[in-house]
């Protein structure tokens, strides 16, 4: 030891990177710094733990992972018991997991943990998979000596739409509060009070507010944090696990479906570090209620005498086939299909309907793969090492929530620039650049020097904005992550569900390889994009429209055009799970199965095709999209090839639609520019019909910068009317300083927002106006 406090110790020679030690008498070697608990786990020895979790920082709070250690650096005192979760292995250390002192220490800790525990296992949802039960059985005392009064606390406390808290069952391992802090950088759950009065709770008794509450129920080793949806539904031995992939957004988090009999009772994470880092968002975790929703379409419908009436599949399919071949037809949708189904739809359009008038882009997203605009692709895990990230008018939190968790970690160490009219990164933005949509390209160009200087820069974008913005992004020279608007936008694009693309990114007109696989001639003229198709329909140039898993009345940015098109087109076929606004206009409605109800593959936002199994049956009268397509093809006398055409050597580029008209408000000051931006729990698809998500469903939300709202007489929570383009929509004010002043934000896919045109006036609803105007 140096005797001089300002002269540091000599730099020692670098220690070897591995250490050798023994565990229960057997020798092993581990990387230096490995915690004893990990070492013991790795060699397959059992060791109990509560506060330790591989995805959280160690705290050493529960003290149940006690092992006996002997050797350096504790050599002088003989064997001692210590916590495996806070002690790293050392060279020469002797670790005993089952020595008497270690067993006794664990036994006493378990006895302590039970003294104030309610022991209400019969009514506890964790029963059968509870670490407190399991470790007590394995290591605990057979009998408690505790004969005093237990501490009573809150039970079955409602923490909002998803979580239930039982403070008596809590063993204060702090996994939940550490997850909130370390992983989310939020504090939706905190510790309160101290000593044995300590409890877990939300801040001031308000409900849990974040998007990731459900992970707490899996982190919780006991039954303290459980889900409303799983309450009293099953025991773990009753359930059948089916591995699957979430299709709530384009990230494709891995999950396990748990079924009891024919019903889904819950979804659990299925850690895939490269995709989801082990987490799920609440939409993904709880949005399975639509599988049993009452409003699910269970039988085909055919319009007769102006009314949609139940029909057989034969009737519906022959009506559809007849209508679709009576004249020029076009296809919209595909972003919610499996990879296989997208390919089938692409073939059906080209070979059955003989058209390239096909487009999956029924919303704001202009392209799905970076290659489609000639850029290089980033990997999701690149976020873990990039030093500069541009978040381009995109909100991972709303559009691919679990990606946002990873981004929060990135933002701790790297520069993240949040560019656009709405602040998107709530928890960790290192730099906010607020600008109007028409300034985006210029602002991106300004970042070029910074990007040139960065080691490993990256751009996250949702593909909204048109060719000029794409060019500006390309000039940055950074790889791109494209967050999809629909879960399988990537698969739809790869299948050629675009007017100028064939499967495998072959250009329309250069599809010899595709034609060879399909064994048929292909139409050679590029088709019309979604706007072109809708315009053609509106002006009477199309005889029929086939809409698959899409609801343009809500999602297409120009809702007025969509409305006119659907009115004018003589024949409309809609294939969906619910009778959406678009489906209500159809001549034939084909009831489809949902994501968890069919097998196939789905491509996530980086084009990784992940298999999904069929977990549940779905309504008896509905069919998988793939089956519907196959039968419709048969009715059209087309045989669908199963084989996918090979990938083009140089991917063809897609033509990006011009950016839609987002324009600042008028000079009067009363007119605001309108922005439609994604919100996780908005939309007219499954979220609107899912009873589990009903409490958090976002509808009619009007986000405004607080600045100037006084002048307009608007306060948080005020009921307002939005007037624009001759339409009025009702909503509720949410003041949000992250919105650029002079603009108003509505949720994309929320009803009516796309009918208002680029500029709106916001007026308070007179108190007497009563019910909704829409």
């Amino acid at each position: 030891m140096s005797s001089n406090p300002s002269a540091g110790p000599q730099a020692p020679a670098a220690p070897p990177s591995t250490v050798s030690c023994t565990i229960d008498g057997k020798p092993y070697t581990f990387p230096r710094g490995t915690l004893i608990v990990d070492a013991v786990r790795q060699v397959g020895r059992p060791i109990p733990y509560y506060c330790y979790h591989p995805r959280l920082e160690p705290v050493g709070a529960c003290r149940v992972c006690m092992v006996q250690v002997e050797g350096p650096p504790v050599a002088t005192r003989g064997p001692i018991v210590t916590t495996g979760c806070t002690t790293p292995v050392f060279e020469g250390l002797k670790i005993e997991t089952m020595s008497d002192p270690a067993k006794l220490a664990r036994q006493q800790v378990l006895e302590f943990l039970l003294i104030n525990h309610p022991l209400d296992c019969p009514v506890c949802d964790k029963g059968g998979e509870c670490d407190l039960q399991d470790f007590t059985l394995a290591y605990g005392p057979g009998k408690s000596q505790f004969a005093e009064q237990k501490i009573l606390r809150h039970k079955a406390e409602d923490l909002g739409p998803f979580l239930v808290l039982d403070q008596e069952r809590c063993i204060l391992c702090q996994r939940c509060v550490r997850y909130e802090n370390e992983v989310l950088h939020e504090q939706n759950l905190v510790l309160k009070e101290r000593g044995d009065r300590t409890v877990i709770d939300t801040g001031a008794g308000e409900p849990y507010a974040g998007y990731f509450s459900g992970n707490n129920t899996e982190l919780c080793p006991v039954g303290a944090l459980t889900s409303h949806t799983y309450r009293f539904k099953a025991r773990p031995w009753d359930v059948r696990p089916v591995p699957s992939v979430c299709q709530g957004c384009s990230l494709g988090c891995n999950l396990t479906v748990n079924l009891r009999g024919p019903k889904i009772v819950r979804l659990l994470w299925r850690e895939n570090q490269a995709v989801d880092a082990g987490w799920l968002c609440d939409r993904g975790r709880y949005g399975f209620g639509h599988t049993l929703a009452e409003q699910r379409l269970a039988t085909p419908l055919v319009r007769r005498d102006g009314e949609l009436r139940a029909a057989t599949w034969e009737e519906a399919l022959s009506a559809a086939a007849a209508g679709l071949t009576a004249g020029p037809a076009a296809v919209l949708g595909g972003g919610r299909l499996t990879d296989e189904e997208s390919l089938a739809l692409s073939q059906l359009a080209r070979l059955g309907l003989r058209t390239n008038d096909v487009d999956w882009r029924v919303g704001y997203q202009g392209f799905a793969a970076p290659a489609a605009i000639g850029l290089s692709e980033a990997a999701i895990t690149d976020l873990d090492r990039s030093d500069l990230v541009l978040l381009l008018d995109t909100s991972p939190l709303e559009e691919a929530p679990v990606l946002d968790i990873r981004l929060r970690r990135t933002a701790r160490r790297a520069t993240v620039i949040d560019l656009g009219p709405v602040r998107n990164l709530r928890h960790a933005a290192s730099r906010r650049v607020a600008c109007a949509p028409d300034e985006l390209a210029r602002r991106v160009a300004e970042l070029a020097p910074e990007f040139a200087a960065a080691q490993s820069p990256l751009v996250i974008w949702n593909g909204r904005g048109g060719p000029a913005l794409a060019e500006a992004v390309a000039a940055l020279g950074a790889p791109l992550l494209v967050v999809g608007e629909f879960a399988n936008a990537r698969g739809a694009e790869a299948a050629g569900l675009a007017p100028d693309l064939l499967p495998g990114y072959h250009a329309v007109g250069a599809g010899a390889e595709v034609a060879a696989v399909w064994g048929a001639e292909l139409p050679r003229e590029p088709g019309r994009d979604a706007a072109g198709i809708l315009n053609a329909a509106a002006s009477g140039d199309l005889q029929a429209l086939y809409v698959v898993g899409a609801n343009p009345l809500r999602s297409f940015p120009d809702g007025e055009l969509a409305d006119r098109a659907l009115d004018a087109v003589p024949f409309l076929v809609v294939q969906d799970l619910f009778l959406t606004e678009t489906a209500q206009r159809a001549d034939v409605v084909l009831p489809a199965l949902g994501a968890l109800e069919k097998a196939g593959h789905t491509s996530n936002l980086v084009g990784q095709s992940q298999p999904v199994a069929r977990a549940v049956a779905g309504p008896a009268g509905a069919l998988a999209d793939g089956m519907i397509l196959r039968r419709l093809a048969a009715a059209l006398n087309v045989t669908l090839a199963d084989q996918a055409p090979p990938e083009a050597e140089t991917p063809a580029r897609v033509r990006l639609p011009e950016a839609g008209g987002e324009r600042p408000g008028g000079g009067s000051g009363e007119e605001l520019g309108l922005l439609l931006r994604p919100r996780l729990f908005a939309g007219g698809g499954t979220a609107a019909f899912d009873p589990n998500l009903e409490p958090v469903h976002v509808a009619g939300e009007v986000r405004l910068n607080p600045e100037g709202t006084d002048r307009l007489g608007l306060q948080e929570g005020a009921a307002v009317h939005l007037h624009g383009a001759g339409t009025t929509v009702r909503g509720t004010v949410r003041l949000d300083a992250g919105v650029l002043p002079g603009w108003v934000v509505l949720a994309a896919h929320d009803f009516g927002g796309n009918r208002l045109g680029p500029r709106v006036r916001v007026t308070a609803v007179p108190a007497a106006a009563g019910v909704a105007a829409r």
Binding site: N4, P5, S6, V59, R63, F112, I115, Q145, G195, R197
Partner: protein, 427 residues
Amino acid sequence: MIRKLLTEGMDTHDLTRLDVYRGRGGYAALAKALGGMSPEDVFNEVKTSNLRGRGGAGAGAAFKWSTLPNDGRPRYLILNGDESEPGSFSGRMLIERNPHRIIEGALLAAYACGMAKTFVYLRGEFYEGYAILKRAVEMARDAGLVGERILGSGFSHEIVVHRGAGAYICGEETAIMESLEGKRGHPRTKPPFPTAAGLYGMPTVINNVETIANLPGIVENGGAWFAAIGPEKSPGTKICSVSGRVRRPGNYEIEMGTPLRELIEEHAGGLEPGHELQFILPAGASSALIQPKDLDVSLDFDSMMAIRSMLGSAGMLVCDERDCPVHVAYLGARFYHHESCGKCTPCREGTGWTEKVLYRMEHGQGRPGDTERLEQLCQGIGGRKCLCLLGDFSVTYLQSALRAFRDAFVAHEHGSCPMARQEVAIR
């Protein structure tokens, strides 16, 4: 033997006044250090002095400082003025009546170790001490003794007086850092030790206020002078806080090595008339009791360890035949139950359970087996199974009482108290 090094002049003079403190030689050590000694010189004097920490464990002050890594990161000094151990009240006296000595000591330590800043952590209940110490720092700043270019030298240093808000655990060296960072006072796991990664993750030295108050004397008179006072391995003086059943409770600064008997019988005036010593808790509620047979023990770190107790903070609680060891155990258990931070299981649950058992025993509801139950509880909580030492503290006295007065505990199992205490139920 009474020997006033830290308390000298305190009874007769208002040392909180800067002019008075300086008039009696205060800040001369600082002037000496800054006037010609290098930081290494100051460090070496402290090393030679063999000064050991007065906060509890008796760690060598210079040794602790020497473990600071020399990596250019800012270093911090924390003065521990949490003083929450029941029975300890010497720090409060120093803070309220000799604040400049603490400030001067902090400046010397900071100079020796190159500290960026000093934080004095006072327990929340020290309303008066907080005001006095803050005022003293301001006075010192106005006189050029704190702040930029102290006494015209190249040395600059800031002292921040910080207040806790009611938590014994915040005297623990890592909990104090959490608390200073504005968090709940949960101890951290060690390693890393504070000198490696302490406050804000930076190298941090934490010393008790009394430890630090020794530095001016050491620098002024030399480390060798200090090392020659008292026993070789525990040099210097110690302010002992004597309370309980003595005639003159109070603080007594004695030379290390003074017999405990002398402290109790002479300086503290002996037991109250007509009463007889039964046992002493020498370092507050967390120390193993000392029985009359050991009264001749010498008051220094090593001799106290030799009789299975400790000098610690020297908060001496003297108990006579009216004080039932079971009652004292109950009072201690109630304290630890209230003060456990709740982070780790054995302490959080064990202290509550222990209190409940002792409460029953104290209230005539003892049950056969309670004594053994307490022994098991001690075993479950103690023996370094907890994250910090509070768990061990909570059972130290109890274990010693179970050894020395087992019969009294067993009697309580059957509803009787050998001391026939009339307990008042407070709930």
